[in-house]
């Protein structure tokens, strides 16, 4: 089950500074939307607002028309799951326990875990091919294994929207591709912040470019990743070639001038 996500005129203030201004974007039901943009552009802030770690100063996040911030926290978490950037814990949970946390919004405080909870956790672990990790300590897993277990936790929430903040950080290339393949095949509508433009172009239905706290472009990767945009937003020059196998746009970046200075195209 998936839903359409509409973000309308979203603005976020932190400590009196406006970090996001009038952000509007739409993610069709079941689509994978990638947020790209330079560091500090507001991608994470936008996502934090979507998974309710921040309250918007203005605007709304609508899931099939329901205002997310008007729902209770539990109800919101039943519809939308997230993988925040920080997921460090000092506590020696097993992978199975981490995944079971995904059932939290479905459980009462005092009740025992139900058969449905157990089934959802088992299915989520199987979906990310991590069933064999269930009894391992989460802290002993490798980066890629951890990320798969965390995705399983999000899937155990049985969400209709999945929000991922830099899910491929610190992973080797095989793990990056695997995580994105898992996310694409998971089912829910996906909103993901990604750093690697080529990964984003190859795995997202829609790219949304965030810069200076605003959405400056959005659309299919092919339409969005233009030379002008790359120069203006990222300050780089690139040659765009179609991926020989998939046809997705692929960027070959030019070196910066040898002086080490900023490129001419820097805005």
């Amino acid at each position: 089950m998936t839903v359409r996500v509409d973000i309308e005129g979203l603005a976020v203030d932190i400590a009196g500074t406006r970090l996001l201004e009038d952000v509007t974007l739409r993610a069709g039901s079941g689509r994978v939307v990638g947020l790209v943009g330079p560091n500090g552009s507001g991608k994470s802030t936008l996502l934090r607002c979507v998974y309710r770690a921040l309250r918007p100063a203005a605007g709304r996040v609508l899931l099939d028309g329901d205002d997310l911030h008007a729902l209770t926290a539990r109800e919101g978490a039943r519809r939308l799951a997230a993988l925040p950037q920080e997921s460090a814990s000092e506590f020696d949970f097993t992978a199975a326990e981490v995944v079971a946390m995904g059932r939290l919004p479905h459980q009462s405080a005092a009740g025992r875990a139900s058969a449905a909870d157990a089934a959802a956790c088992a299915a989520a672990l199987a979906q990310v091919r991590a069933a064999h990790l269930a009894e391992r300590g989460f802290l002993t897993l490798s980066g890629g294994e951890k990320q798969r277990v965390l995705i399983a936790r999000a899937l155990a929430q049985q969400p209709r929207v999945l929000v991922l903040d830099e899910p491929t950080n610190h992973l080797d290339i095989a793990q990056q591709l695997e995580v994105l393949a898992l996310v694409r095949g998971a089912g829910p509508t996906v909103l993901a912040a990604l750093h690697d433009l080529n990964l984003a172009a190859g795995h997202c239905d829609v790219l949304c470019v965030v810069a200076g706290g605003r959405v400056v472009a959005s659309g299919p990767p092919h339409d969005v990743l233009t030379d002008e945009l790359l120069a203006e937003v990222f300050g780089v020059r690139a040659h765009r070639v179609p991926h020989p196998a998939t046809g997705a746009p692929h960027l070959l970046f030019d070196r910066l001038p040898p002086t080490g200075g900023t490129p001419d195209a820097q805005p």
């Binding site: 993988l83 925040p84 460090a88 949970f93 946390m101 919004p105 991590a130 897993l141």
Partner: protein
């Protein structure tokens, strides 16, 4: 050897791995590209890249089954209390102890010459053993709560500065006879009141627009801890009374020597209510332990939960410290030992830790009474002396992982 041949040799020396690899004497240079396990290498797009194990191989944590452990601890607690009531410096026999306990419970009669022994058993040892159980349970439960609240393994119930705040009030009574009008309640009353004052102060200083953050809480708490300790030390030195200074010291290190029936109910109620609340919030504590952002994504309001945690843990700490002083180690180590036994899930930990803390402190208090009898040692000294080696042993044996190392 011709110059050309020498040159060829020289070029090999630049690529020693290649050369040896070609001769097949050593592992090929590309060995580091092979899968870490030596499993077959899958071509692109096929096979489980996921089958690679972590670079660090850890056996799955061995765990003690929860139900038998709970049953054992539940049975051990009354037995421990009984043992510690029967044993002591003034040798009252087992039969007599049971007789006096029965008399005390049922309101039976005892002979005139038994009054002294009865008083020792019923008025001194039993409330003391029960208080040890209550305090041990409370410190262990609060330790679990505080560690989750500040997401830090090093935290204990006293990291918030509450205990040293309580010490200020208690020492004001001990050394300067403050609140004399309250009589027997003066000491614990003053301790609890100053614990609450310390708690308010820590809360006010640590609070930000985003609620209580773990780091600010720990920093504020430990700063306050030193400030309150300084005030206490100042009081001890300025008071010119040797015996009072000694009892002040005893109180700083923790002691159950002041246990009476009247000191039990409030502490017991606070510990029960606090543990109940923590158990009820256990799932939220799991989420909180993973980070505030994750908690938010799981529908847990981290700011509100942490505020609740602060109030509950501070109040229980205040209530416990008011009757026993600052008994160290229990609140720090029992949560860890419990996690080693049953894993980190807070429901299991909060079910086991209070029982474990209770049993532990009952026995530790007995040792503190008997070791140098009739001199009584501060119980905190024994918790550390017995507890630390046991803890180290357990940690090494079970491959406890904390903080990812």
């Amino acid at each position: 050897m011709s110059p050309i041949a020498r040159g060829a040799c020289g070029s090999h020396e630049h690529f020693p791995h290649t050369r040896r690899g070609l001769r097949g004497r050593d592992p090929p240079a590309a060995a580091h590209l092979a899968p870490r396990t030596g499993a077959p290498c899958y071509p692109y797009g096929r096979g489980p890249t996921t089958a690679r194990p972590s670079p660090w191989r850890h056996p799955p944590p061995r765990r003690v089954p929860l139900l038998p452990l709970l049953c054992a601890l539940t049975a051990a607690l009354p037995l421990s209390v009984l043992c510690c009531t029967a044993l002591g410096a003034s040798g009252v026999g087992w039969g007599d102890t049971l007789h006096y306990l029965w008399a005390g419970l049922t309101g039976g009669t005892i002979r005139q010459d038994e009054v002294a022994a009865y008083t020792i058993v019923w008025e001194l040892r039993l409330p003391r053993a029960l208080l040890a159980a209550v305090v041990g349970a409370g410190l262990a439960a609060v330790g679990v709560g505080v560690q989750a609240m500040v997401r830090n393994a090093l935290a204990d119930p006293f990291v918030l500065g509450i205990s040293s705040g309580a010490a200020v009030g208690a020492n004001a009574v001990l050394l300067f006879g403050a609140l004399g009008s309250l009589g027997v309640w003066a000491l614990s009353g003053a301790a609890f009141a100053s614990a609450l004052a310390a708690m308010t102060l820590v809360y006010a200083v640590a609070r930000t627009a985003h609620g209580l953050t773990p780091l600010r809480l720990v920093l504020t708490g430990s700063a306050m801890y030193y400030a309150f300790s300084a005030v206490t030390t100042l009081m001890v030195f300025s008071a010119d009374r040797g015996e009072a200074a000694r009892s002040a010291m005893m109180w700083l290190l923790g002691s159950l020597g002041g246990a009476t029936w009247s000191s039990l109910p409030i502490a017991a109620a606070a510990v029960l209510a606090g543990t109940g609340w923590l158990l009820w919030s256990a799932r939220g504590l799991n989420a909180l332990a993973m980070g505030d952002e994750t908690a938010a994504a799981l529908g847990v309001d981290a700011v509100r939960l942490r505020r609740g945690l602060f109030l509950v843990t501070a109040a229980v700490t205040g209530a416990v410290v008011a009757v026993s002083g600052a008994i160290g180690f229990v609140g720090h180590m029992v949560p860890h030992v419990t996690r080693m036994l049953v894993g980190a899930g807070h429901r299991r930990v909060l079910a086991v830790a209070p029982l474990l803390g209770a049993v532990l402190l009952v026995w530790v208090d007995l040792v503190s009474r008997l070791l140098l009898a009739p001199v009584e040692l501060p119980v905190g000294v024994i918790t550390a002396l017995i507890g630390v080696p046991g803890f180290v042993l357990l940690m090494r044996r079970r491959g406890y992982v904390f903080g990812g190392s």
